[in-house]
Amino acid sequence: MDRLNILVVDDDKLARDIMGDNLAGQVVDFAADRAAAERKLKAGHYDICFIDLMLGADDDYSGLKLIPLAVAKGAYSVVMSSCDTEETISKAYALGCKEFYVKGNEAANVSAIIARYLQGGAGKKVDGVFSKDFITNDPATRAMVAEALKYAPTSLPLLLLGPSGTGKTTLAELLHRHSGRKGAFVAMNCAAYTEDLLESEIFGYKRGSFTGAHENRKGKLAQADGGTLFLDEIGAMSQAMQVKLLKAIEEKSFYPLGADKPEYSDFRVISATLEDVQGMLAEGKLRFDFFQRVHGMTVALKPLAQRKCDIFPLIGAFTKHAKRLAFEPAAKEYLLGHAWPGNTRELKHFVDLMAAGADGQLTLEMVARHLKQAAPPVAVIFTPAQYDYALKHGLAGLAEDLKAAIIRHNLAENNGKKAAALKQLGISKRLLYMVVEGKTRKGEETNHA
């Protein structure tokens, strides 16, 4: 992130000193009175101008008079004052200030203001996100990500949905970068750990708390202090773990394994899952109270197959600092027609493989050879015989026969008990009796599936 030029106008020496700390990392200039502020605003360029309203013991709210000048000079003007009468607030907004704060919570407010300036207040900077940080030309995805970025500077939880490889981690990192939070972005995939390991990974442990715990170890919650904790695959967490984490999220405190004192961490939670959240709630896999703590603003990312306009911009981005690739028209068509079940991750892998090859100019044959090999095994879903049958009799015919075969198989397994088949397969009585009476496919007896 580029450093911002910031002017702080405040007559209080201590307040200026505190602001200097809160704005560490930016280029900060100070003015203690109106005249100095005017000189600096006229001479320099500032991205953001923080203005106190009363500049001197007997001052007549001259900070208000600085707002039009700061606005005219293109600075994002923010009033931070101890005076918060309705009249003053309206006057400040009427003069063009963008945000008005009552002094007293500068550390949190300042980082939120900067984050908001970067993602929205500056307007033009949001577009840059889609050509660099989260590449997409899809209008619906852009709108959703832009909306999510508005929530980035808050401490509200965010839930990212979407199939594997759609960019949930990339988006979570982007949201962290736009949050203004100074701590680290700590990501963990809950599905990658066993129950016990997950607990020690999240909460950390104290030396001697279990066999092999030779030293104290910070967990992800502690690592994310002042930053963001990204929990991927939250559906993989047990109910017991959800309860423990829920308490930590709510209280911002937790007990590492083997600890007798709580530890505190100011973390913000972004979670993600590729599963159907409503389904997980209905099945009891996801606790409703835990879901309520983590869902906040929800962003559902579309699979790559539904935003094909992103395929070539993504290929361009993946090869930006490497060998560039060119595709003959038929190869391009093939790429657009591919289902990309692995989404962006699959595309990246494909690009890496192609770029590692000898040729930069790719033909249809080269592209098709790789993507066919990389396709998921069809036998998991249907057999080659079924595929041939669908080609011969149509897909509807195959589907009907497959249904009938599965129902018959289930009835046989349940010794002909229709109630069990109805319950286990979730089918209607009408369909069951049609199969029993052999009325599917115009009464034909079929057992191809």
């Binding site: 201590l14 307040a15 505190i18």
Partner: protein
């Protein structure tokens, strides 16, 4: 002499700065800590001075009495 509402505003403003500084003191870099404490003391003295002024105003029945 500033009027009462301005005095109150200044006291509030300085008190808020003092509270903010006290809260941030543990995170203040060591090399800055003594300087920060000196500034806090200066602010505390200013607050005491302003409170005396406020008292005087109040005793004199100044306008905008709280």
């Amino acid at each position: 002499m500033p009027d009462m509402s301005k005095l109150q505003h200044n006291i509030k403003s300085m008190a808020v700065s003092l509270k903010e500084a006290a809260e941030q003191l543990p995170r203040c870099p060591n090399e800055k800590k003594l300087g920060r404490v000196a500034l806090m003391r200066e602010t505390a003295q200013d607050i005491a001075r302003l409170l005396t002024e406020l008292e005087t105003e109040m005793k004199n029945g100044g306008a905008g009495q709280p």
